[in-house]
Amino acid sequence: MSLIRAENISFVYSTGTSFEKKALDNVSFEIEKGEFVGIIGHTGSGKSTLIQLLNGLLKPTEGNIFFDEKNIWDEPKKIRNIRFRVGMVFQYPEYQLFEETVYKDIAFGPHNMGLDDDETDKRIHKAAEFVGLREDQLLVSPFELSGGEKRRAAIAGVIAMDPDVLILDEPTAGLDPLGREALLSQIVDYHRVRKNTVLLVSHSMEDIARIADRILVMSHGKKIALDTTENVFSKGDELEKIGLQVPQVTRIMQMLKKKGFNVDTSVLTVEQGFNEILNCLSGV
């Protein structure tokens, strides 16, 4: 039994006007509970559209989406409940902060869920800890935080709702290398501790290769593949055709193999690559 199931979904923006634009075309897939799925695709391939459909911010033009085997649009009045269970962190989420203090801003989601103050308070502190915000930072205005800290606060605001599925749209865009690392490892920790499902949209093949169990590949509104990370990145040529690349180390391994070195080409991270090359050299 899958947690999220999309059946032949299509989505058209601005139907019936001259701006009509088909952003998704007959996409079907299933995502299991507890998975970490990476979503990749070139700019405009429909990634952001797809994830907005999954938590009911957009309604599919055709097809159905099932959450826990229940069609999410069966009861349009209760779509908010789906949004609480499928938490969504948008691209550049720092622009959504609005409250007087970081604390109050993180409380916005839990309050909308109708949780009492005690429970909300507990969740805020836990969420802040997950994203690495200090206690004293909770009491300042969100507009006094730095860009990276603002982003953490915004992510905490979604985590505090304790969703079953957490969807992040390019959470590391515009952060420095250290900030990216820190944020990614916090997301990985979050996934490991809470054991919930995470969907991560990213343009960085390196990041995706390192942390995702499976990868959904999109191109021009169509699903190209949903497969394990190794399988997806073993098809470098096909990825290149749709404007994507395998991680740099994987490419290096594939080139070395072509030159006649006996290395494993399914390597995904720099450490694995390092070991692989060492093994190969010492074996000679």
Partner: protein, 270 residues
Amino acid sequence: MVREITLGQYLPGKSPIHRMDPRSKILLLITYIVVIFLCKNFVSLLLMSLFSILIILLTGISFLKYLKSLRMIIFVIIITGILNLFYGSGDVLCELWILKITTGGIYNALFVIVRITILMMVSAVLTYTTSPTDLTDGLERLMKPLTIFHVKVHEIALMMTIALRFIPVLLEETDKIMNAQKARGADMESGNVFQRVKALTPVLIPLFVSSFRRANDLAMAMECRCYNGGKNKTRMKVLRFSKIDLAASIISVVIFAAVIFTNTIFQPVI
């Protein structure tokens, strides 16, 4: 959804009307508006309508677009039309309580409807065929004489340009922020008026913050390029009064003169 809202929508093209100088377009439109309100009989009104249709055909833009420009004010047209029915003198055609429909009323209604309709469509010609930059440029040049009265013409034009430029950006941003807050369970669709206004705070505050940020960035970028007001500013695209403008002006003046002439020789009906 917000993207579909179009304000002063410009439809690029290569028609003679597109190639006209914005200044002559603005001036001719103003004259056109004056003349259309001078029409007092069917001959002159018909002449004006035919002229309007000629202009619209010349732009090469589908007639459907012009009908769409009417969509916003269709109710205004209908209501003024109906009100005018009961307002006028002449033979009484039918009587309902204190309301009388007279032949004069029918003429009034007809004139009002035709006038507003062609007026709106010809005004749409200006916005459809002139890019916002050209439009504000043209306005700035036309208002130039006002500088002797210390009117800050250049600043006003700049403000208009910036506002036009950022309206779509802000609309898109509103859409994004609304989605982000909805994802956190913000409920903007239900509740009474007060609850709904209150529910807008999470959208309005980020919107204000980002508008100020944008304004700041824009000011900084302009300063970096040594912007210091309109003085000594040269333009990449210099507005020129061309042969097309001359031809358009002559044709318009002839037609306007003909309209005024027919107005005087035929019996006025309103």
